[in-house]
Structures are given as structure tokens and as C-alpha cells.
Symmetry: C2
Subunit: 516 residues, 2 copies
């Protein structure tokens, strides 16, 4: 497989021309005036990638790549704004070196070198950031530290259902190594195929489970991190109350406090029993209340994904004001009783089961992993296509949702002209949902980046003003900084900043992200 | 009710003389050579409490108490080593003032005054620390900041099942204020009646639920903290991925980073359905494996408390090598199917149900809340009676348990002469249990403090050497420092220390606890 330098995933998995055309035709049904001309990406070798300004020490040279396309593909993440800039051949800052450590000592040596030289170093997992997390958005030279060669499961504790794993492992390779042991992490962010364990930990990625272990945080037993002042390794503990959790400081640190090299992760048995249902609602507000009832029931579905009318139509071909995809799974016991009760709760709120044990759930999940490829195909056709996500309390949700949707709709109307806003819940908690919004709007070729940035600013303001979080699981990176800076408490920022200074005295770790 | 200055809880609830004698007679059955003479506590007014060395600013005088007995009762927590020192009339450092703020602004003013004067200030909730967390273990003057007058539920969000609550509220007062709304926190540490929400948050207290929300951490939606550099308030969010969690930095900070004044907490509906079973096992190893199977089943019992033979006999009057107390509860649905499956799992490992829906579980729970009073009665009779708790992985547990039990048994034999070690699991996780050990040993009046300190050092070494945590839910305080300092990663300690310097530049917050 060939990794795409400009867009999502592997080039072999991108939409074929006929698939792309068919998708464009479907979208044209609701954006009839849009110009769907397909703009192919430039040849990367034709782009003006600046020459590297860094010379690695001899001992590290074997790990370093100066190849222009390699460096170009490490210059950005995979957000819409990254893809659009790549498609238009817009070259900005590019890391001077891509360094691929083969051992933890290599990571130590790279940090030592970069700290001594004052060279920014950007930890890089799968490069799937959608928030500018891996982009050297500054003038000087930089190193992209690609952990991809540290991809082994090192140890398995079958009894405690845990494994010690190198941070550079990609999702599929991790599952391949766990499968012979009958175990699985079951952490499936949309980036699963092209993101790494270390990336998940550094960004507090959201995964498979709609309830309980929603973030990788909860599946983390211990973390090993190389910081410029030494290696930090927490104990393997199922639970502890010994001071503030060391792991919780590194979870979400986005490469600013150290480089995660290993973790002990909590695993699952492979599920044997599953039960699924699709439930439609004539009124969205009722669907929300039904979802809340389930989230507060103590039933803990593995999937509890509420699609609004636009999501239901676009992604499941269903006409309803709300479509709730429910699933329970277990390696221990049949879960029909659990689903029965959840379905009763939906009926209490006007829901109708349209499929049980059907394929709608898994079909939707395959589509879920394909969505970034569709996004790329539409980006090539001048559309503004992107997502943003948040979380808020149930009490706040109706007003929050109305405000965010209104801001998005107004921004689309003003900036793009035409488009739709969709919403689904990716995760739900007893005290609130994590809504995930999609934007599909018409754009003008050459302007879609600026158009999206304007829409994004408008919706981020609405999220902030209405009490949401600027990110539930996409991380902060560089793109969310203006709103994150207002969201986090100032004393906490002072504490985090001081912690960073202590761990990274030279200030070389991922500058511009989170703090500094 | 009259708060005991020297021992646990209220004097009216202490064991009556005949209860104490009956308890001594029961214990004498296995410690026949012990001298059970009852030593009454001294009259507090007779003790040489030093005169206060601090004069509060006029504006704060209305909040300050210099009463010797008030100060004496704030000088220590409620561990065995505190009770023994009180019983023997041993006066050491005593806070010079007890300050009881009536508003958050009062807290700000106290911290301003103490920071300017360089006076250590010890945040005080219910004073139930068992790790030296509220004790001014240093020579200079100090202030005990008692939050007990900030005890109101300020706001309830019925939809999201959450409440904004002042940190000084005691357990029963909190539940009293929630009950009219049909809601409950259901967080019942053993200290429930005499500890506060702020104390639970600051120490990551463990509560009612044996699985899932084991610590108060998981029931925390947002925290408001007064730090010397300003007020830190996190947003109410059901989940977030915006950088390292601000709440997780203050959870477990034990008064070293700021004074928690309010929190939004996640509530439960009052349970309507319950199902309970008591299961005995002829072999402890089988009982452990059954408990592990349940912890990994995804059934999530609210109670899953495994008592070893000594615990079962002493606390439930049951002769068995293992006694598992199981309970499920729900406000939404009958939970018999859950219990049925859990019982099947115990049968797979040789368990026998001895009671179902019986009273053994709730009888044990009432006894649970009475245990500290019994501890005090036995401390008066020269016994060494204390608990310690930890957590480790399932894989490690057999070796860990053998090592810790051997260390405890050897220490008792050498230092005390005779005694027993008991073990129960208070909480269980998919990757490991939280074992809670009890020591009941013979002591010599006047030496029991030194005897316990020696036993504690021996078991703490064993916990550390065998991979456990020095505390699962009792916190670090001053007593656990030598082992905590070895347990936490050095780079994390450097980061936490820097964070403290940023938040508490004068270094006045609870010196000696956790760091510094």
C-alpha cells in the first residue's frame, strides 16, 4: 500500500474515479449549483520543498530522512485544511528532517540533540492530526520524530488482560499482534488504520465504545515517556489514589511534555455476543431524550450513536428526524436483555425499531472508516467538507445545539452560499452527549481553505460561548488554541506551563501546541 | 452530637462500656494473653496546648478560633497513630488558629494573608485523614482552614443529574439536600459521616461502587479551586479531550495546589432494584479467580467485596476460605439477570451461594461504618489495630498477597508478639483488585504507636517492592511519603513540583504533603 502524501490513508483505497463521480452526483442532488470539477493533486516532486537546514549528528544519521516527499508528507496532518493546502500545492513550513527512531535510546538521543541545539521536535505517530498537531507552524528548522518503527507488542499479561506495547504501533498492526492471544483493544477511532497508540494517548483519542471507556485514557494502565530530563514510567496499577495521576498529565499532552514510547494498555476479550438495533424517531428532541435515558440507565451500550435527519439520510439512507444505532456486546454473556431494555426506553420516547440484529450498524461502521476518503474526493471538487466535535451537558444540549447549528448555518450561508450541517452523537455520558457535526458546503476552488477557516471560527465561537468543549477527542493542536486558551482555567495553564518548563527546559517539544 | 476530639466520629456513637467489653472478649478468643485494660482518654483541657503564635488581621478575626480543644482536635487526623497519640496525651504541633471561612472570598482572603506572611495553611474538610494529611508536622505556626461552614448544595441540574455543591459539605448533609430531588451521589467511603466532598476530591476517595466509579474522580464533572494566584474553575463537561484534564490535576492534590471550594458532581437516581448474594469458597485462590471473572465480565456489580477467611469470620461470622459479597443495583431495571450470571461465574470456580437477597450484605455495611469506633475501643485496650490498602494487577496478586501477608505476619510476630492479618477487596477492576488489609495485634500500652509504625514500614516496603500502590484511596499525606517518593516517576515529580511553585509561590499550602 502507498501512503498518500496529500490526503487520507493509502492511495489504493482512495475513491476510484467512478466512485468519486457517483458521490459527486449524490451530493449534487442537494447542491445543484456547485461546480464539481475534479482537481487532481500536484506531483509532489514538482513542489518547492526547501532544502533541509539541519545536519544530524553522525550517530543519528542512519535514522534520518531528508527526502522532500517524505518531509512534505510529515509537514501537515490530515484535516480538510491540510488536504486543501496540499491539493493546491501550497508549501509552507516543512520539517527539515524526518527521524525514525528504532529504539527508546534513539528517542533519548534525538531529544538530547534537539534540546542542546534548541531545535523544535514534533512527535509524529500516524500523522492523522486534524488540528495542526504535527505541523511546524514556525519559521526555524524542525525535526519530525516519526515513531512508526517502534511498533511491537512487547509483553502480554493474559490474566490481567493487559499488554505492554510500543507507542508507534498502528491500529491494525496492534490488533494483528493481539489476535493470536484472543484479546483486542477495541479502540477504533475513525483514524484507526492510520494512527498509532502513542498518538491516541497523546491526544486522548475517542474510540469504539460509546459509553464507559470512551477515551483511550480509560484503557491506559501505565505510560512510559521520554522527557528531556529523563524517562517517566508509571507503575502498572488497576487503580490508584497516590496523588494526582501521572498518566493523566501525559494523556492529552500532545507531544509538549515528552515522547510516549510505551504503554501498558487494558484489553478486552473478543466479543462473542452482540445485539443491535436501529431505532427511528419522528422528532429529534424525543430521540435526544431517549438517548439520554439510555445513557443514564446503567446499561452501557457499546454503540449509542444518534444521527440527526441529515446524517440519517446521507449516511444510512434513512428518512427520520432521528436514527439511533444501538449495540451491546460481551465476551461473557448474551446481551439481548440489555438491548431489550434499551429498546423499551426508546419506545417510551416514540422510537420505532426498524432493524434488529440487522446490518445497518456494521454497514454504517464500514462507511465510517471510509468517510475521510470521501472527504478528500469532495475536497478535490471544491467542496468545504469537514467535521468538528464537542461535548456539553444534557440540560444545555437543546440550546447549545440550536446555537451551534445556527452559527454553522449562518456561516455557510454567508461564506459559502449553500450547504448542510449534520450532527451525530459519537459518545454519550450520564451527564451529556458528545455531538459531532459535519459540514458539507459549496466552495470556490482556491478559496475553500479561507472559507472553512471562517466557518470554523464561527462555530468555535458558538461552542465556546455556549459552554461546550473545543474538543471532545480531536485534541487541541494549533488550530484550537484560541478557544482552548479561553476554555482552560488560567491557574491551570500556569501550572501546566511550569510543568512543561520543568520537563522541557529548552522548550523544544512541539512548540505552539496547547501552551507556548 | 459531640465530635470526639481524640477518636473517631461523635462521642455519642462510640462503643458503650458493655459493647467495648464484649468486643474485647471476642478478640480475647484469639489473643488470650493480651492485657485488655481500658485506658480512658485524658481530659483535653488538661493537656499542654501551646498558646497561639498568630494574630489574624481584624477582618478575618470573626472566622478564627483559638480555643485549645478546637485547635487540638484539628491537630491530627483519625488514623490509629493519631488516636493513640491523643489517648496518651501526647501533644505535638497544634495549629495556631482554626479558621472557618463562610464564603469563597474568605478563603481568598485567608490565602492572601497566609501567602503574604509565609504562614502554612492546611485545608481541612472533616479531618478524617488516616495519613497525616491535616497535621502540621513542622515547627512554625500554622492555620487549619476548616471548610465546614461551606456546606450547601447550590444548584441542581436534574436533566444532566448533576449538582453544584460547596466543598465543605459532609456526607449525610449532602445526601439530605439531594434526597428531595430523588438524587444521590452514592459515594460512601468508610468516613462518610465525618468527611466532606472537598476532602474526598482532594484525596481521591474511594466510595460505594466496587466497579466503574470507584473513586470520586469519576463522579466529578467540574471543580472550582482557590489557589494563591487566582481561582481555577473548569467547565462542566461530561467528557473532554482538550489537553490534560485540569480536574485530574486537582484531584488528589491533597491541599498542596489550592483549596477546593465547589464542585459539580455527577449524581445517581436512587436505586429501585437491588439483588444481592453471598457466596462462599472452600479455597481462597478459587474465590480470587471467581472475583476476577466477575470483574472482567462487564457485569459491573455495585458491590464485589471478597473477604478472606479471617475477615469472613471476624466481620460476618462465616467460616469459609473466601466470602464474596455481591450486589447489583439499578434505578432503571431489575438486575436479577446480572446477579444470575455473576453467580454462575462463582459456581464455575467452586462457589456456593449461602444467601440471596439476604441481609448479610447490608449487615456487613452497617458494621463497616462502625469499624472505626471499634478500632478506637481496641486502641484504648492497648491493641495495634489498623488497616492499609493498595492495588495491583490480577497476575501479580497471588505473589503480592503472599509477600505482603508474610511481611505483616513476620512484623507482627517480631514487634507485637501475636495478632492476625485480614484481607478484603474493596474495589475490583478488570486488570486487578484493590486489597485492603487489617491488622489486629497485641500491643503494650505506651508502645503501640511505635509498634504500629514498625509494622506499617514493613508492609509498605512489601507493597512497594511487589509492585503495588502505596495507596488506592487513603491518600499520601505525610505518612506515605517515603514510599510515594519512590513510586511516582521522578520527571512527574519535577513537573508537579513546578506546578505547585506556579500556583503557590509562597509555598504555604499544606507543606510536607505529597511534594516539598
Amino acid at each position: 500500500m502507498t501512503r498518500s502524501w496529500w490526503g487520507w490513508g493509502d492511495t489504493e483505497d482512495a475513491l476510484a474515479p467512478d466512485e468519486s463521480a457517483a458521490l459527486a452526483a449524490r451530493v449534487a442532488a442537494f447542491l445543484p449549483d456547485h461546480d464539481f470539477t475534479d482537481h487532481a493533486p500536484p506531483a509532489p516532486a514538482s513542489l518547492p520543498v526547501p532544502r533541509p537546514r539541519l545536519e544530524p549528528p553522525g550517530a543519528l544519521a542512519r535514522l534520518c530522512s531528508t527526502d522532500p516527499v517524505d518531509r512534505l508528507s510529515h509537514a501537515r496532518g490530515k484535516a480538510f485544511r491540510d488536504v486543501v493546502r496540499n491539493l493546491s500545492g501550497q508549501v509552507e513550513a516543512v520539517p527539515d528532517l524526518v527521524v525514525r527512531p528504532e529504539s527508546e535510546q534513539d528517542v533519548v538521543d534525538v531529544l538530547d540533540w534537539c534540546s542542546a541545539a534548541g531545535t523544535p521536535v514534533i512527535p509524529y505517530g500516524g500523522g492523522s492530526s486534524v488540528v495542526g498537531g504535527v505541523e511546524p507552524r514556525f519559521a526555524g528548522p524542525s525535526v519530525s520524530l516519526d515513531l512508526g518503527r517502534l511498533g511491537q507488542v512487547l509483553e502480554i499479561d493474559r490474566t490481567s488482560r493487559a499488554a505492554r506495547v510500543q507507542a508507534g504501533v498502528y491500529g491494525p498492526a496492534l490488533e494483528d499482534q493481539l489476535r493470536p492471544h484472543g484479546l483486542t483493544l477495541r479502540h477504533y477511532p475513525q483514524s484507526f488504520t492510520h494512527s498509532t497508540l502513542g498518538g491516541w494517548l497523546a491526544t486522548r483519542a475517542g474510540g469504539h465504545f460509546a459509553t464507559l471507556a470512551t477515551h483511550i485514557d480509560d484503557l491506559t494502565e501505565a505510560i512510559r515517556v521520554v522527557t528531556p530530563i529523563g524517562v517517566s514510567e508509571s507503575r502498572r496499577l488497576p487503580g490508584s489514589g497516590a496523588g494526582p495521576s501521572p498518566d493523566r498529565m501525559f494523556l492529552g499532552s500532545e507531544g509538549t511534555l515528552g515522547v510516549i514510547t510505551e504503554a501498558w494498555i487494558r484489553l478486552q476479550e473478543r466479543p462473542v455476543w452482540q445485539a443491535k438495533a436501529s431505532v427511528t424517531f419522528p422528532k429529534y428532541a424525543d430521540a435526544v431524550n431517549a438517548t439520554r435515558a439510555i445513557a443514564q440507565s446503567g446499561l452501557y451500550p457499546s454503540n449509542c450513536r444518534l444521527l440527526d435527519a441529515a446524517e440519517a439520510f446521507l449516511n444510512a439512507g434513512v428518512s427520520a428526524d432521528g436514527l439511533l444505532l444501538l449495540a451491546f456486546e460481551s465476551a461473557d454473556h448474551p446481551v439481548d436483555a440489555w438491548l431489550d431494555r434499551a429498546v423499551e426506553l426508546t419506545a417510551d420516547h416514540g422510537g420505532t425499531v426498524t432493524a434488529r440484529r440487522g446490518e445497518s450498524g456494521s454497514a454504517w461502521r464500514s462507511a465510517f472508516l471510509r468517510m475521510p476518503y470521501q472527504r478528500d474526493a469532495l475536497a478535490r471538487r471544491s467542496m468545504v467538507v469537514e467535521t468538528f466535535e464537542t461535548a456539553c451537558t444534557w440540560d444545555a444540549f437543546p440550546g447549545f445545539h440550536a446555537a451551534v447549528t445556527a452559527a454553522a448555518t449562518a456561516a455557510i450561508a454567508e461564506i459559502c452560499g449553500a450547504g448542510v450541517v449534520t450532527c451525530r452523537f459519537t459518545h454519550v455520558y450520564p451527564d451529556g452527549p458528545a455531538p459531532y457535526y459535519g459540514i458539507y458546503a459549496t466552495g470556490r476552488w482556491g478559496s475553500t481553505l479561507a472559507q472553512w477557516d471562517e466557518v470554523k471560527a464561527a462555530v468555535s465561537e458558538a461552542i465556546w460561548a455556549n459552554g461546550g468543549t473545543i474538543t471532545h477527542h480531536h485534541a487541541v493542536g494549533r488550530d484550537h488554541r484560541p478557544w482552548y486558551d479561553r476554555q482552560r482555567p488560567d491557574p491551570f495553564a500556569a501550572a501546566l506551563s511550569a510543568a512543561k518548563d520543568a520537563l522541557d527546559p529548552a522548550g523544544v517539544l512541539n512548540p505552539g501546541v496547547l501552551i507556548r
